[in-house]
């Protein structure tokens, strides 16, 4: 039976209650959706209504931007850079788990230029974060104007960069298949780091438009079984990946599949896996404020359901099932 268990990534953190609670739009709490009684299907360990009440019925303060220092910038390809940024310890320690990301921006740009970028690696001894950025358009080009020793604005921490986090947390002594394509390699690193010690990992890498694998450093550091292949062609899974999944689920007893790539790949993969294993994937929504207000990430589903993908934790299946265009 399929049953969607949802969660709010910020519930139980210093960022809860948020503005959604103030406007009776909390994604979890019935009392903060304008109802008169509790109906706590989705419970994260704290009573959001109580937190809100104790906070004098106002939202807690929003995430703020802080200054970071670019300590290295490596131009991997013409349109692909790796940044290592020195932050503060307070922020850095909140960015260790898979799914963590921050917004980056040039100090002189307005907050409209905030661009969400996943944490690829995070060193809480040195308080540095590493990330790989694809230079795409207006926001990332602006970030690319910065160089080593420049100051960069960082807003965070944010955590909803991965859907199905609960499934990842359940992985111990499991056979796990990770699939990354193109820039998706960067956010798969924390997943690999989190799982490689206690699980057996197969990592499928599709270089995408790049000549070579871009996370070599990490796959040496976190040993796993590497398979290089093309994952998708003309919007369909390649024969190679398709049969690999069938074989691996049957022969290697894979119990979890994680995909870090474009939505089209994730969607095809979910259909292919067809509930034979648990899944997780990266969050490819348009994320602008990251805190439930701007509406950029809202996605509509059948039955007049609106999901705020910057806040909502759910399993990958429910990101695509019944999705509607507006």
């Amino acid at each position: 039976m399929n049953y969607e268990i949802i969660d709010c990534i910020d519930a139980g953190t210093q960022f809860c209650p948020c503005h959604l609670a103030e406007s009776n739009e909390c994604i979890l709490c019935s009392q903060l959706q304008g109802k008169s009684f509790c109906d706590c299907k989705n419970w994260r360990g704290t009573c959001i209504y109580q937190e809100f009440n104790w906070n004098n019925n106002i939202a807690t303060s929003e995430r703020e931007s802080s200054e970071g220092l670019i300590i290295s910038k490596e131009i991997i390809y013409q349109d692909l850079i790796k940044l290592v940024i020195k932050t503060n310890h307070h922020l850095c320690k909140e960015l260790v788990n898979a799914g963590s990301y921050v917004f980056l921006r040039c100090p002189e740009s307005s907050p409209y230029f905030d661009v969400p970028i996943s944490i690829m690696d995070c060193d809480i001894q040195k308080d540095t974060i590493s990330m790989i950025i694809e230079i795409e358009g207006i926001k990332t080009k602006k970030v690319n104007e910065l160089n080593e020793k420049d100051t960069i604005m960082i807003k965070g921490p944010f955590w909803n960069g991965v859907f199905g986090l609960k499934n990842i947390q359940r992985c111990t002594n499991k056979n796990v298949l990770l699939i990354a394509r193109g820039i998706g390699q960067a956010p798969i690193v924390p997943v690999l780091k989190q799982l490689y010690k206690q699980n057996t990992i197969w990592l499928v890498i599709d270089k995408g438009r790049y000549e070579d694998v871009i996370i070599k450093e990490y796959i040496n550091k976190y040993p796993c079984n590497i398979v290089e292949l093309k994952t998708i062609e003309e919007g369909k899974l390649t024969q190679d990946l398709s049969s690999l999944i069938d074989d691996y689920i049957e022969d290697n007893f894979i119990e979890h599949v994680h995909c870090s790539g474009p939505d089209i790949l994730i969607q095809e993969l979910i259909t292919k896996v067809n509930n034979r294993t648990a899944t997780s994937c990266c969050n490819n929504a348009k994320v602008c404020c990251g805190q439930g207000v701007c509406g950029a990430c809202t996605t509509r589903f059948e039955g007049h359901v609106v999901k705020r993908l910057c806040k909502l934790q759910t399993d990958p299946e429910y990101i695509f099932e019944g999705r509607r265009q507006i």
């Binding site: 049953y3 009684f37 509790c38 706590c40």
Partner: protein, 425 residues
Amino acid sequence: MKVVIIGGGWSGLAAAITAKKAGADVEIYEKTDMLLGLGNIGGIMRNNGRYTAAEELIALGAGDLINLTDSVTKHKNIYFPGHHHAWLYDVNKIEPVVKEYVEDLGIKIFLKQRVIDVKKEGDTIVGIILYDGQFITGDAFIETTGSTGPMGNCLRYGNGCSMCVLRCPAFGPRVSISARAGVPDLQGEREEGVCGAFSGSCKIGKETLSKEICKELDEKGVVIIKIPKEDINLEKLKQKVCQQYALKEFAENIILLDTGHAKLMTSYYPLDKLRNIEGMENAKYIDPYAGGKGNSIRYLSMAPRENNMKVDGIKNLFCGGEKSGLFVGHTEAISTGSLAGHNSVRWYLGMPLLTLPKSTAVGDLISYEGNMTNTLEGKRKRYTFAGSEYFVRMKEKKLYSTDTEEINNRVKKLNLQNIFGEAII
């Protein structure tokens, strides 16, 4: 045939036992790590009309749990204001005894399994969903989730979570399963327009009371101490769930009962004031932990039901205990639960469902409560064999008796002897 029970308090356990005896496979899903729910902090049995009901349950073949509470009774036949022949079971001994008994009957118990939703096909429930998405199928379902809390309700309608034995922050909140199945809940009121009611007693660690109080509690089971005049608060009586204890004596005195802990017969009492009382200078709350601030809020989640305990509008959902009405008490939970369990099996077999006649105390309470909750006045009352309005009625209708033989004969005459004890599958 499989009966799935949601909530392992007294009513859920009673339902499990009668369903099992009738011949079903039975599973109990309980959100905490203990059975008994509020039964872990109550203890008073057989006071006033509860004596009659307890003997009636035994005669009807549903005396298992009564026998168990009797077996760990600390004090028998004690008196405290308004209450005669009360028996007090030891709340620190009862749970493991019950758990073992229920397991020995072959009933499957699943602890730390919070139920969050149901799946329906038409008007029939096909299964329940656990907190982690697991789907559990069954033929008939019995909701015995009580009516306490959860935290948000205790805050909106009370003084906030006071950390009661149900431990919502640790095990997750109660969910109204009937409401999830599409049947809106009914609410009790404490006064006009004010929903819910405060639980009516707390537990204080006996070790924290003076030697003299402890000694008297051990010997007599009850201690009554005058409250300083300036601290008497008659207003608080109105808020109470347990109208059988909403007597002047309970506002003017500290009444302590020995149920293993010292049971303080008031809904909450500021700790600094409590410690002004002689012998209680070092008192400490054991349940609810924040008994100085508030108590749990109850009766916000009752399912509309028939007198055979079937929930209106759903073919295979039954209910018992506080879920099934404005009932207060272990004995009341066991009574309603027993009927629900038995009828779930009858329903499956296509047999007519049993309604207990009004010439039994249990049958009369169930039908009286059913009529009253639909009235404005009735919503503000609570229904128990132990006192207030219903006990008056019991006496008027000559249902009240402490004569076991008389009670047995009544049940026999109605041909209901051991009806809950017989296998029907």
